[in-house]
Amino acid sequence: MIKTTVHPGPVTPASSGNSILEVDALTKEFGGLTAVNAVTLHVPERSIVSVIGPNGAGKTTFFNMITGIYAPTRGSIKLAGRELVGLRPDQVTEAGIARTFQNIRLFSSMTSEENIMVGRNSRLKSTFVDAVLRTRRFHESEHEAREAARIMLDFVGLSQWRNEIATNLPYGDQRKLEIARALATTPKLILLDEPAAGMNPRETEDLKALIRRIRDELGVTICLIEHDMRLVMTLSEYITVLDYGTKISEGLPHQVRNDPAVMEAYLGRGAAAGEYGKEEAPR
C-alpha cells in the first residue's frame, strides 16, 4: 500500500554503492566564526548515516545548508548528481530532500493530518484553476494527499492523533509527526536533526525501529544527527564526526567509537563501552 501509493518502486535493503548525496568542501561562515569548515560527505543510496559531534560543532548548520535554508559560503552539494547550491528550500525539497528540525516546527493551527497534507503539497498535480473548478485532477490530488496523510500517520503510529492540533501532541509524538510530514514529500533522502531528543530509552528503541522501516520499507536514505550514542552506534552504517566545524573522524560505528580524537572531543572515556556512565570524578 505504502509503496505503491506514496513511494514509488520496490525496496531493497541498503548498501548500494552509489552516493545519492555528495557534499564537497562545504563551508559556512557567520561573521568571523566558521561554523562548518570544508566538510565533505558522501551518502550512499539507501544507507543510514549519522553526523555527530559536540554541541556547536556545526551539525545543524550543515543540514541547513543542504536544505537551502542557509546559503553556503563555499562548497557544493549534489543530490543524485544535481547541484543544489543556490536552490530555495522548497526547490531542494522538490528535488528530493526532506528534513525535520531540531526545534520542532509543526504548523500550529493545523491538525496532524493537515500537517502531513502540506508535506504532500509539492507532489500534487492540481493547480489553482483545478481547485476553483473542482476538476477531476483536483479530487484526485485531494484524495492522494489525504491518503498520504493516513498512510504516514499509520506508518509512524500516530493515527489516534489525526484530528488533534499538532502542537497539542506530546513532545515525542510531535517529533514523529515531523518525520511523517517529511516523508509525505516522498524524499529520496531525509535529514533528521536529533529525532530522539526528548524520548526515553524505550521510545528511542521504537524510533530506531521506525527509522529502519523508513529505509527498508520506503527506500529512503537517512542522514541523522543524534547525541544518543546507543541509537547512533546501533543504527548507523556510517558516521561522520564534526568538531568546531571540521570533520575530525569518520567511518563505521566501531571505528569512530574507538577513535581517540572522538573520545576526547565528544564521547568521554566511558563511551567506548557503549554506555555513558563513567568512573572518573567530576572535573
Binding site: 546559503a71 547550491v85 530555495r88 522548497d90 504548523f107 493551527s109 493545523m110 481547485a131 524505550r202
Partner: protein, 545 residues
C-alpha cells in the same frame, strides 16, 4: 504497571442543535413584512402610532438589520434545506428588491454591503489565510474602479485628444518596435524562468531576467502609447466613453488589472515579514491614491471622473420595468443582481481555494514560513497567488462600485477604507468566510444605517444638545463598538475554527489579563508572522540571492 500510552484527548460532545425550521420561516415572514411596511409610506400612515414607531430611524435601521439577519440565520441555524433556500433566495431576490422599489437606498445599501463583503473576502485570503498583513488593500479596489472609469467616461476621449495633439515621435513605427520589444523580452523572460526551474539561478541569469523585465515594461509602454496616438482620431467618437457593451469585457479586465498590480506590488515587498509588510503596503496604497490624484490626464485628479457608464441590458430593463420598477432604478437593480452573482462566485472561489492545496499552503506559511518552505511550499509564489487573488476580488468590485457611483475620485480610496475593510475581517472572524461577510455587513450597516439613524432620530429630540448629538460622534461610537466587540469576542463574530482553537482563553492557563505570563505557552497567538525576518540577511535562503 503498563507501558504508557499517549493520552487521548477528551472527546467533546457535539452540541446537538435544535431544528429551527419553523422559527426561521417565521422570522423571515415577520422581518420581511416589517421591512416592506416600513418602506411603504402609504401603509405606514394607515398604521397610526405603530407607523410612527417604524418611522423612527433607529427602528428602521434595526428592521433592516434584522431582515438581513435572515440570511445569516438561514446559514447558521439547523433547519430544513428548503427553508434555508427559501429564506436565502427569498430575502435576497424577492423581498429586498421589492422593498427597494420604494426605497432605492436599500438596494444601494445592499450593494455596498456586498462590495465590502467581497473586499473583506479578498483581504481575508491575504490576511486571514496567508497571514500577510496588508494595510493598503484599497489600492486594488482603486485600480479596478479606474480601469473601467477611464474608459467608460469622457476621460478616454480626453486622453485620446491629448495624444492626438501631442503625438511626439510616435507612429506606426513605434508600434512595431514596441511589439518586437515586448515579444522578445517576454520570450526571454519565459525562457529564463524555465531555465531557473531546472537549474540554480546565477547572478547573470537573474540580472538578465531583470533586464528583460525592464525591456518588457518599456515595450508595453511603447505599444500602449502608439496605440493611443494611432487611435486619437476617434477621440470624438468616444467623447462620452466607450461603448458600454464593453462592460463585460472590462469585468475581466478589471480583475486582471488588479491582479497584475497585486503581483507588481507583491514582487518587491512580499519578502518582508509581518509589520514591515503592513507598513509598506500601507505606503503603496497611499502611493496609488496619490498617483490617481496627480495623473490628471487619466484620472482627472482630484476633480474625479464622472459620469461613469454602466452595462446596457435592455432585456433586464424591460423585465424590471414589467415588475414595476422605475427607469431610474433599473441600473441600480441590475448592479444589485450582478453584485449578488459576483459575490456568490467569489465566495465559491474562496471556499474552494481554502480546501485545496493552495489553501493549505497559505495556512502553512502563516504558521511557519521556514517549515512550510522546507515542506516544499514555494513562499514567493504562494504569497503572490494570495495577493493576486485578493486583489482581483477588489478589482472587480472596484469596477462595479464605479458603475454604481457614476463618480469616483481619489478620496474614496484612502487609508481609512483599507482599515475599515481590515476591521471587517477581524470583527467577523479572521479566516472564516461567513464571518468576514458578516463583519462586512455589520460594519457597513453601522456606518450607513445605524449611526446615521441614531443621528437622525436624536436630531429632533429637544433634550439632546447639538454638541453631543450622535451624528457628531460617529467616530466615537464606531470606535467604541470596535473596541467593545474585540474585547467581548476577540475571535470574531463567527470565528474560524482554527483561530478559535488557538484562542484558548481558559482559566487554567493563567489568564494574562489578571496577573501572569503564560499565554505564550503555546505561541499560537500569531496569526500573521512575526515582525522580524527569521533568518539573518546574509543567510538568506540560497535561491533568493
Amino acid at each position: 504497571m503498563t507501558v504508557a500510552t499517549p493520552a487521548k484527548p477528551a472527546v467533546r460532545r457535539p452540541v446537538v442543535k435544535p431544528d429551527r425550521t419553523i422559527l426561521l420561516v417565521l422570522f423571515f415572514v415577520v422581518t420581511s413584512v416589517l421591512l416592506i411596511i416600513s418602506h411603504q409610506p402609504g401603509m405606514m400612515k394607515s398604521l397610526g402610532p405603530f407607523g410612527d414607531v417604524l418611522r423612527n430611524k433607529v427602528v428602521e435601521a434595526l428592521v433592516v438589520s434584522l431582515f438581513l439577519a435572515n440570511v445569516l440565520f438561514a446559514y447558521l441555524w439547523k433547519a430544513a434545506n428548503w427553508a434555508k433556500l427559501l429564506v436565502g433566495i427569498g430575502s435576497l431576490l424577492f423581498v429586498l428588491p421589492l422593498a427597494g422599489q420604494t426605497d432605492t437606498s436599500l438596494l444601494d445599501l445592499s450593494i455596498q454591503i456586498m462590495i465590502f463583503a467581497a473586499l473583506a473576502l479578498g483581504l481575508n485570503i491575504v490576511v486571514g489565510l496567508a497571514g500577510l498583513l496588508d494595510l493598503g488593500y484599497v489600492a486594488f479596489f482603486a485600480v479596478g474602479a479606474y480601469t473601467w472609469s477611464i474608459f467608460a467616461s469622457p476621460r478616454f476621449g480626453e486622453v485620446l485628444k491629448y495624444y492626438g495633439e501631442n503625438p511626439g515621435a510616435t507612429g506606426s513605427g513605434t508600434l512595431a518596435i514596441g511589439l518586437v520589444l515586448t515579444g522578445v523580452t517576454a520570450g526571454s523572460m519565459l525562457y529564463i524562468r524555465g531555465l531557473h526551474g531546472r537549474m540554480a539561478p546565477t547572478r547573470l541569469s537573474s540580472l538578465s531576467f531583470l533586464l528583460a523585465g525592464f525591456g518588457l515594461l518599456s515595450g508595453i509602454i511603447l505599444v500602449g502609447r502608439s496605440i493611443l496616438v494611432l487611435a486619437s482620431g476617434s477621440a470624438a467618437a468616444v467623447a462620452s466613453g466607450i461603448n458600454p457593451g464593453f462592460f463585460w469585457l472590462f469585468l475581466a479586465l478589471s480583475i486582471m488589472a488588479a491582479a497584475i498590480v497585486g503581483v507588481l506590488i507583491g514582487l518587491p515587498v512580499l519578502r518582508l515579514k509581518g509589520d514591515y509588510l503592513a507598513i509598506i503596503t500601507l505606503g503603496l496604497g497611499e502611493v496609488i491614491r496619490v498617483l490617481a490624484n496627480n495623473l490628471g490626464l487619466y484620472t482627472a485628479g482630484s476633480q474625479g471622473i464622472t459620469p461613469i457608464g454602466s452595462a446596457p441590458v435592455p432585456w433586464f430593463n424591460s423585465l424590471a420595468g414589467s415588475l414595476g420598477f422605475r427607469p431610474d432604478q433599473y441600473s441600480l437593480l441590475f448592479l444589485y443582481v450582478l453584485v449578488l452573482i459576483v459575490i456568490a462566485v467569489i465566495l465559491l472561489v474562496n471556499v474552494r481555494l481554502d480546501k485545496s492545496r493552495i489553501g493549505r499552503a497559505w495556512v502553512a506559511i502563516r504558521d511557519d514560513e521556514i517549515a512550510a518552505q522546507a515542506m516544499g511550499v514555494p513562499l514567493m509564489q504562494t504569497k503572490l497567488i494570495a495577493f493576486a487573488t485578493g486583489a482581483s476580488f477588489a478589482g472587480v468590485m472596484g469596477m462595479i462600485f464605479a458603475a454604481k457611483q457614476t463618480f469616483i475620485s481619489p478620496e474614496s480610496f484612502n487609508l481609512l477604507q483599507s482599515i475599515t475593510v481590515l476591521s471587517m475581517v477581524v470583527l467577523g472572524g479572521m479566516g472564516s468566510f461567513s464571518g468576514v461577510i458578516l463583519g462586512a455587513a455589520v460594519v457597513t450597516l453601522l456606518n450607513l444605517r445605524i449611526l446615521p439613524g441614531l443621528g437622525e432620530a436624536s436630531a429632533n429630540v429637544p433634550w439632546i444638545p447639538q454638541e453631543v448629538n450622535p451624528a457628531n460622534f460617529n467616530r466615537f461610537i464606531f470606535g467604541s463598538i470596535l473596541v467593545a466587540m474585540m474585547l467581548l469576542r476577540p475571535e470574531g463574530l463567527l470565528p474560524n475554527k482554527r483561530v478559535a482553537r488557538e484562542l484558548h482563553h481558559e482559566d487554567d492557563q493563567e489568564d494574562e489579563s489578571e496577573d501572569g505570563n503564560a499565554s505564550g505557552l503555546k505561541q499560537g497567538g500569531d496569526v500573521y508572522s512575526a515582525g522580524l525576518a527569521t533568518i539573518k540577511e546574509d543567510d538568506r535562503p540560497g535561491g533568493e540571492r
